[in-house]
């Protein structure tokens, strides 16, 4: 696999306002050729708006972005020719068959006629839908539709494949199948993958992730480096009286705890060694305790001050913003 040195995606000071709402506040990043780059953040953080700008669907308010070396505003058609898109919401024609949907795409993208048939077979086989090629898409399950969309996004051999929440709303089995295809892709096609997700476990598959919150990039690094940067273990306890326990943790150990997912949660270095002290000095009966190594959840919490699920609860603007970005 050969990769050129120029970044696959180069973003500088990219901004988008919807009226007074600042959806994206000047983000900057480079995506290296051939990598899987993840945008991680709660719904409403600006992920879909950013991806829509990179895909030429939404005009930026300010800043610039190059995709496959082409400017997303000035060289829109060039960008479009070089990208594949898989949206959060399906964009298939349910009354056509799988093969007809792909044929439509090939014609619209001007795929040379002599390779259309072969290429359609190839991408359908990749997502294990070749046997169902003549079935109407309406008869497909959600997972099959998503697989077909991935096949379609790859049909014209894009330089960069954009996946906006590719596994949202799918069952775990289909989710892992889709990750299987994405991993296979990296070996069979010379392609860069840019994806958004709000699933922590999926972000682990990425080479690098950017954590985005309230329209700003908080940090960019590999999942391993991000986890190492947290340093502390996560301790979760169930107590008879959470309020008192939180106060006691602050007073006696100088630890900031909060109720996350129904348990008193806090981060501390060498968590296992801390547990005996906790039992003897907390002064509140403890029903259960769990200590875990830092996960991306902790990374997220460390950088943004809340867990991704809590962050989603607070952002009422998210659906409005997505509706605007979607048009």
């Amino acid at each position: 696999m050969t990769t050129s040195e120029a970044p696959a995606v180069a973003v500088r000071g990219l901004r988008k306002n919807y009226g007074t709402l600042e959806a994206v506040k000047g983000v900057e990043f480079d995506v290296r050729p051939g990598e899987v780059f993840g945008f991680l953040g709660p719904n409403g953080a600006g992920k879909t708006t950013t991806i829509s700008m990179l895909c030429t669907l939404v005009n930026p308010t300010g800043g610039s972005a190059l995709v496959a070396g082409h400017d997303v505003v000035r060289e829109r058609d060039e960008v479009r020719r070089n990208i594949g898109l898989v949206f959060q919401d399906p964009t298939l024609d349910g009354y056509l068959s799988a093969a007809q949907n792909l044929r439509f795409h090939a014609e619209l993208y001007g795929v040379p006629r002599d390779v259309v048939g072969e290429r359609i077979k190839q991408v359908l086989e990749m997502v294990a839908l070749w046997d169902r090629r003549d079935a109407k898409v309406n008869t497909f399950s959600g997972g099959m539709k998503r697989r077909l969309e991935i096949a379609r996004g790859l049909l014209h051999s894009p330089r960069v494949l954009f996946l906006d929440e590719p596994t949202v709303g799918l069952d775990p089995q289909t989710r892992s199948a889709i990750w299987g295809y994405i991993n296979k892709l990296r070996h069979t096609e010379d392609i860069t993958i840019f994806m958004t997700t709000h699933y922590m476990d999926e972000a682990e598959y990425c080479d690098r992730i950017a954590i985005i919150d309230h329209g700003e990039i908080v940090v960019i690094d590999s999942p391993e480096a991000l986890k190492a940067s947290v340093g502390k273990d996560r301790v979760q306890i169930q107590t008879a009286d959470d309020e008192t326990a939180i106060t006691a943790l602050k007073e006696r150990f100088d630890l900031d705890a909060a109720v996350r997912e129904g348990m008193v949660t806090f981060a501390v270095a060498s968590g296992e060694a801390f547990v005996p002290r906790l039992f003897s000095e907390l002064g509140v009966p403890i029903r259960s305790v769990s200590v875990s190594r830092p996960s991306l959840d902790d990374v997220f919490m460390n950088y943004t001050g809340s867990t991704i699920r809590d962050a989603e609860g607070e952002s009422g603007a998210s659906s409005v913003m997505r509706a605007m970005a979607r048009r």
Binding site: R80, Y95, P112, H156
Partner: protein, 290 residues
């Protein structure tokens, strides 16, 4: 254009730059999809037929008992209605085709078209040609009923009507697409469509002859663009009937501007010009929604 291989057995596609050939391919596939959708959707085909058949055989038969013996000596009222019913069928079908753009937007497929590296023009032209062909196809079913209302199956008549039907349906599809470009859901599109189409059909001469009308009504029928699509069809049908000149005057008076009989060629020109202008509006609407 060439293909290379990046891994065993993988075809790497090189997508060529923008060209007229590419735009034509895009027009063709959008058009092709319209036809596929029409052929696959039997319910729609049947539902669009119910209305004209009702008009022709229920309303037409009922009204003919009132009218026969007076103005229409020897001409079945249904024969008079026939070109109007063709126009109605074609218009309704064309509007449905245009409305599918709203449907495409609701179900996301429009997005697939709008992110493709092709001009908005290709997509809109493909859609309008598709709508035109589909509506003409639907009109063919009404053409087949000609014998039942004493209209002869003459090849020249059929060819003339086919051409006029296509012209009318292309124009109406362009009108519908320019309406649909900004619509977000089907309900509002159909609301607007009813509001626009009903008066246009009523005032087009599809249901009653445009002779001896009160001034205000005569004026409205002359402003109505649809009048110029319906009149040539009626003219074509009447030129293949053998009826007395008085009957022709009563039932096929043509359109007059200040006493001047507007020739069929000019009427068709007006429809074609409107079609081109509406197509331009529709393309501009889609460019603006970028």
């Amino acid at each position: 254009m060439a293909t290379g291989v990046t891994a065993p057995g993988v075809v790497r596609v090189r997508v060529p730059g923008r060209s007229v050939r590419h735009d034509l391919r895009a027009i063709k596939i959008v058009l092709h999809r319209e036809l596929l959708r029409f052929v696959n959707d039997r319910t729609r085909m049947v539902s669009v037929l119910v209305q004209p058949v009702l008009w022709l055989f229920v309303m037409g038969t009922g009204l003919s008992t009132l009218i026969s013996g007076r103005a229409a000596q020897g001409v079945d009222f249904r024969t008079f209605m026939y070109p109007g019913v063709i126009a109605m069928t074609v218009i309704t079908t064309a509007m449905f085709s245009a409305g599918s753009i709203v449907w495409d937007r609701e179900f996301g497929f429009l997005r697939e078209m709008l992110v493709a590296p092709v001009g908005r023009g290709s997509i809109v032209i493909g859609k309008c040609l598709g709508g035109g062909i589909v509506a003409t196809g639907q009109g063919v079913i009404i053409l087949a009923l000609a014998g039942l209302v004493h209209v002869p199956y003459s090849p020249t008549l059929i060819l003339t009507l086919l051409g006029e039907m296509f012209l009318a349906s292309f124009t109406i599809t362009a009108f519908g697409v320019s309406l649909a470009a900004r619509m977000k859901n089907m309900q509002s599109f159909f609301g607007v469509m009813q509001m626009a189409i009903m008066p246009m059909i009523f005032l087009s001469g599809a249901m009653f002859p445009l002779a001896n009308l009160p001034t205000w009504l005569a004026l409205l029928t002359k402003i109505n663009p649809l009048t110029y699509a319906v009149d040539p069809m009626r003219h074509a049908v009447f030129s293949h009937l053998s009826v007395s000149p008085q009957v022709v005057d009563a039932l096929n008076p043509g359109v007059h501007w200040f006493g001047w009989h507007v020739p069929v060629a000019l009427e068709l020109g007006i429809v074609a010009l409107m079609g081109a202008a509406l197509l331009g509006v529709a393309i501009a609407q889609f460019r603006r929604t970028d």
